[in-house]
Structures are given as C-alpha cells and as structure tokens.
C-alpha cells in the first residue's frame, strides 16, 4: 500500500485540556480525536463524515499542524521520501506546508477583506518565497484560470464576489503553490445547491488534471458519497468505520453508520424517512463520554458488553474496518441505489 499512499495517519490523538477556576487548573481532557488511523492513496479522495463534536475538523487541523497533536504520526510520502509531519519543527512545517493546503467552509470569513484577490492568491507563494514579480503574477493568473475566475478581477476585493466565486478564490489560493494534498473542511456546506454543484465539479476536474489528493471533511453524506473513493465515519473522536464508498453505503457494518444513512432525508417523495424507529437521543458530551462503546446509549442493538468494553477497530470485510462488537452478526441496512 505504502508505495501509492500519499498520507498515512497513525494513532492520531488530540486532547484539549478542560481548565477550571482562577488558576486554570486542568481538571480533565476532551478527547477530540482519539487514536485515529487511516491512509489516503495518491490522487484519491477520502471522505470524513461525522456529526458536530465528532472531531473531524480537529483531525483536519492536526494533519495540517494548524493545531498541535497530542500523539500520533502523520506520514507524508513525497518524492520517494517519507516525512512524519508530527516530528517537524514549526519552521520545517512552515516550509513543508506547501505540499498540503486547506479549503475552508465559510468563503466570507476565510478571505481577508482588506486584501485583493491577487494578494490572497499569491500569499502562499510569497511566504514560501517561491515566486516574485512577473513569475508571481503568472502563477496567480494560472491559478485563477484553473478555478474559472476572470483574471481581470485580480485587483478586486473579496466583497465584490458571490459566495461561489469566493470559494473559487479560496481554492485558487490553495492551488497556487501546487500542493499534493488538499484538506477540504466543509468546503461546499455554505453554498447554495446550484453553486455547490459547480464547486464539486471543479474539485473533481482539478483532481483529474493535477492528480490532487483530497481529505474531504463534510457532514453531508450525499456530497461525500459523490466525491469520495473511501469514506471514514467518526463518532465522538473515534473512527468507527471505514470502507470504500460503495461498500460503506450499501453494507454498513457499524450501527452508527446505519443510523446516519437512515436519517438522511432523500429528495424523492417515494423514499420518505421511516415514520418511527431511527436513532434516539443526542450526541454525548465529548468531555464525559459514555463507558464502553461511545455509541451504546443510542444504539438499538446494544448488549451488556457494549456498556463495558470498548470495541476495537477490526477488519470486517476486505478493505472495510468497523469498531463494533457485533459487526459480524448484525445485518445492517444500507442505502439501495
């Protein structure tokens, strides 16, 4: 696997301290990301889904080293060399960050309103001292053309653009430096449906053209299904299931995946949400997760062992892993096409 994989994450863990009182004593930890491992092959897309508090955004930020991880390895394979990003110093990481870039959810807050499009898109190139003068302008032009923005608008400010166009500016900024990996954190969630489709198509074209690898973080499962080769499901900081997209959607092996799939309202009057059933209750507080399997209080199949023992993440089928004591026994419902 490792000759084609671009990114291998092993045991990535991020604890946030819970501080209390005047002296800000640490009284506990929120396990935002807990022992998460996965890999992404070059030119492929791994979708990462989960509800709020699942740790998906924190995970993306840890991979970027935008926040410091507590433990784990982030192996990046590049030009025959393997680098553990977790071991790099801040300076080394800044240098390395040209290989991985991020696209954010909110195209309004992620662009500096006081900078022109040119300043925004050229920033990674200037910071990394990759280009200047005419060459810099050339690179910015090329990035803007790639994302379908008119180069004449280079001197304008973000406020002059619509949400979809702003997202294109954000993508151009990420692309200007020729990264290998792009982490898309809810990159289309804030967009209108018709514009969302444009951006999804653009991301797909760019992947084909430039051989990009995506870590696609999103809560919308129909979008994730559309763009991803593989999908990983997180619940309260843990990876509970991962499989090739088709397999995960048609034959889920973790009850939480089944619950997620059954809760999606489908845009088809012939496929209504089930009138009853469905998963009850709410997501647990990640600072005080339940015992055993974190999903057991909401799981319709929970047994005694689920309350007591945390299930390990095991291979349940070729290329499919799930963390459920009964992954082999349950006949879970997926989505038929």
């Amino acid at each position: 696997m490792s000759e084609t994989s671009l990114l291998e994450v092993r045991g990535l863990t991020k604890y946030f301290p819970i501080e209390q009182g005047l002296l800000r004593r640490v009284v506990g930890h929120v396990r935002a990301v807990d022992q998460v491992s996965f890999s992404i092959n070059r030119g492929r897309t791994l979708g990462l889904v989960g509800e709020s508090g699942s740790g998906k955004t924190t995970l993306g930020r840890c991979v970027m080293r935008a926040i410091e991880l507590t433990a784990g390895e982030i192996i990046f394979h590049h030009q025959g060399e393997s680098t553990d990003l977790a071991q790099l110093s801040r300076r080394e990481m800044r240098e390395f960050r040209k290989h991985l870039q991020m696209i954010f959810q909110d195209p309004y807050s992620s662009l500096d309103p006081r900078k022109t499009v040119f300043d925004i898109v050229s920033e990674p190139l200037r910071i990394n001292k990759i280009a200047s003068g005419k060459a810099l302008e050339q690179r910015v032009r090329k990035a803007l053309e790639l994302v379908g923005l008119d180069v004449r608008y280079m001197k304008r400010y973000p406020h002059a653009f619509s949400g979809g166009q702003r997202q294109r500016i954000g993508i151009a900024r990420a692309l200007s430096i020729n990264p290998q990996l792009i982490i898309c954190d809810e990159a289309v969630s804030a967009l209108d449906v018709s514009v969302q489709a444009q951006i999804l198509n653009l991301l797909k074209d760019l992947q084909d053209e430039l051989g990009l690898t995506y870590l696609f973080i999103a809560h919308d499962l129909s979008v994730v299904e559309h763009v991803s080769n593989d999908v990983a499901v997180m619940y309260v900081g843990k990876l509970v299931e991962q499989a090739p997209t088709r397999l995960l959607f048609s034959r889920p092996r973790h009850p939480y995946t089944e619950a997620l799939l059954s809760a999606i309202p489908r845009p088809d009057p012939d496929q209504p949400l089930p009138e009853s059933g469905g998963v009850e209750g709410e997501l647990p507080d990640p600072a005080h997760p339940p015992s055993g399997c974190y999903f057991h209080p909401r799981c319709p199949y929970a047994q005694q062992i689920c309350r007591e023992e945390e299930p390990p993440l095991l291979e349940v089928a070729p290329q499919q892993v799930a963390a459920c004591h009964f992954a082999d026994e349950l006949e879970l419902q997926g989505i038929e096409d």
């Binding site: 619509s162 198509n201 129909s222 949400l273 709410e282």
Partner: protein, 335 residues
C-alpha cells in the same frame, strides 16, 4: 375554501436601500390549508424568509414596506394582516395565538437571560393566563410532549444549558403553546445534525397530526422538503416560479429552475465520478429588477425577446400545478 387558513395575494415586500429598491418579495400568491404543509424552497436571496417575516409583520419598520393581501381566515370571516399596524394590539394578539414561528437558530430566538420555562410561559401570560401554577404545568406538559427528558428540571434551565436539538424542541414548545393554527418554520433543522434533524422532522409531523395546524415550511434542502411538504412553492428572486403538489414538483417539474435544482443535488449511487448538472452563474441580487422572468439570466432555455420582455403568466399544467415560464405559455408551445 373553509380549510384555508392563510391566503397570500400578490405580496410585495420591498426594502429601501441606498443603492435602490431591493424587491425581496415581488408578487407572491399562495394559500395554506389546515392540516397541510406548504413547503417553500429556494436558494439564498429568493425571498422565502422575507415572505415569512412579512406574514408575521416583523420586517424592519423603517426600511421595508409590505403590500398586497395576507388574509387570515376564520370561521367568522377574514383579517388582512397586511393592513394591520405591525406594532398594534391586533397584530400582537395574532402572533403566537394564530400564527407562530420557529427559526433556524434557536439561540437567537431565545433570550439568554431568562429560563426556558419563563419564556415559554410568557406567551400564556401575554395572552391572558393569570395562574402561575397552571402555566407552569402546561409548559412542563408541553416540554414533555416535544420530547425533552426530565422537563420538570429542564424548565428552569437557561437556553445555553440545552443542546442544539433540545433548544429546537423548546422553541417548538414555545411556538405551539397557544395552539396556533399556522406554524411558520424557517429552516428549523438546518443547523442540526442529521440524526437530530430526523427526530425534529418526525416531531413536527406528529404535532401536526395531533392538532391539525397548518405548516409553512421554509428550507433550501430538497430532501427535507420531500419529507415534509404536501405542496411545494419554488421561489426564485422574490417570485414563485412553480407551484404544485409534492409529487408534481419532484416527479414532473416543469420550470427550468426547478429542473436544474433537482438535477444539481448529488443522489446516492447515481453520480459516481460523473459531473453534476449545474445551473450557470449565481443568484443575482434583486436590486431594481426588470419586469421579466427572474431566472432569465441563468436559464439554459432562455429565449431573447421573450423571457426578458415581461414576467411570464402563471400557466396551469394540471390541477394544482402552475408554472411561470414562457415555454409553457399557449402561444409559445410548438405543435
């Protein structure tokens, strides 16, 4: 006609801005019936929320103007809400008792400095209840009905102490405490996680079955609409471009915009590695819009000289199904 709770006729809501007149709602008509849900779907800026705010008369007084008819029907006649003073006693009396509204973000709908219970009970006190014990009992029963565990404890908590799903449930309780005949829900599940959304949608359906209220359900999410609505109005740039039953809109869409919207959402198993259909361009801002089809600038079937000449009339395709598009006007149908 006796089942009609609310009838909106040729509603216009304009905002006077420095840059010109923003025609947020520009000639909208529809009716909502008892025990039925009207879904209003559209992208940002289509005027779906402003339509709701106009019915509640909560658009900003200084900068906005509401014209047209908003008829609230009773057994004994009808009141035109558009003619009422938005700060007047009559309008205040209608809000909550006849028409209630729930919002996307419950945190902004609740006051952060009062307990959930006090805010729910306030509606009762404003509308004539005097006994505190009765009000509290009613509020607890209602919190229980909307699925809040330990309601006798939750009633004394502040909104920030509740999760997003619980806040949304509390807001629904607050909205229905006076048994309104019409509930306006503006993106009520958009901020919620998908498993919680499914619970809230199920709750709203159950409440409607129990008390027969009419629901106006506003959302951009076609999946949610398909699960909630009996009838659907598709809005674009301040106008309803197509209206029909759920089946008609999803299975026999006629307007190029409706068709485009339905095509542009990813569907399970259908789009593997393929491109999604898109609608070119983005939604324009309705500042001083021309009197023409609002979708003309993005339409793939645009006919110069026709679509940009005037607003197309509503054409009835089949009973209950109307579309405003020149393609369906009798004079333009090619034989």
């Amino acid at each position: 006609m006796s089942d009609v709770v609310l009838e909106v006729k040729d509603l216009h809501t304009y905002f006077e801005l420095e840059e010109g007149t923003l025609k947020a709602v520009n000639g909208v008509s529809f009716a909502i019936k008892k025990n039925r849900t009207l879904g209003i779907v559209g992208e940002s800026g289509c005027g779906k929320s402003v339509t709701a705010q106009s019915i509640m008369r909560i658009t900003p007084k200084k900068t906005s103007s509401v014209s047209g008819q908003i008829m609230l029907h009773h057994d004994f006649g009808a009141i035109d809400i558009a003619q009422l003073d938005e700060d007047g006693d009559q309008m205040r009396d209608l809000r909550g008792r006849e028409i209630a509204m729930i919002f996307q973000e419950p945190m902004t709908a609740f006051s952060p400095v009062h307990t959930v219970g006090n805010q729910i009970m306030e509606a009762l006190f404003v509308h004539g209840e005097t006994d505190k014990k009765t009000a509290r009992k009613r509020a607890i029963a209602l919190l229980d009905e909307v699925g809040i565990p330990a309601p006798e404890r939750r009633i004394d908590e502040y909104p920030f102490q509740l999760s997003g799903g619980m806040r949304q449930r509390s807001m629904i309780a607050m909205a229905i405490i006076l048994n309104p005949r019409l509930l306006i829900a503006d993106e009520p599940t958009t901020a919620l996680d998908v498993t919680i959304q499914a619970q809230i949608l199920r709750l709203m359906k159950r409440l409607q079955r129990d008390n027969g209220m009419a629901i106006m359900f506003i959302t951009h999410d076609l999946g949610v609409i398909a699960n909630m609505a009996d009838d659907v109005a598709v809005m674009y740039l301040g106008k309803i471009v197509e209206f029909g039953s759920l089946h008609q809109i999803f299975k026999e869409p006629k307007h190029p915009y409706t068709k485009g919207l339905l095509r542009s959402i990813p569907k399970f198993g259908e789009t593997d590695g393929k491109h999604l259909a898109t609608i070119k361009g983005t939604v324009p801002v309705p500042l001083n819009p021309p009197d023409a089809c609002p979708f003309a600038s993005r339409c793939s079937e645009f006919i110069p000289g026709k679509c940009d000449a005037r607003m197309p009339d509503a054409v009835t395709i089949s009973p209950g199904h109307t579309v405003n598009c020149v393609l369906y006007e009798p004079t333009n149908i090619q034989t």
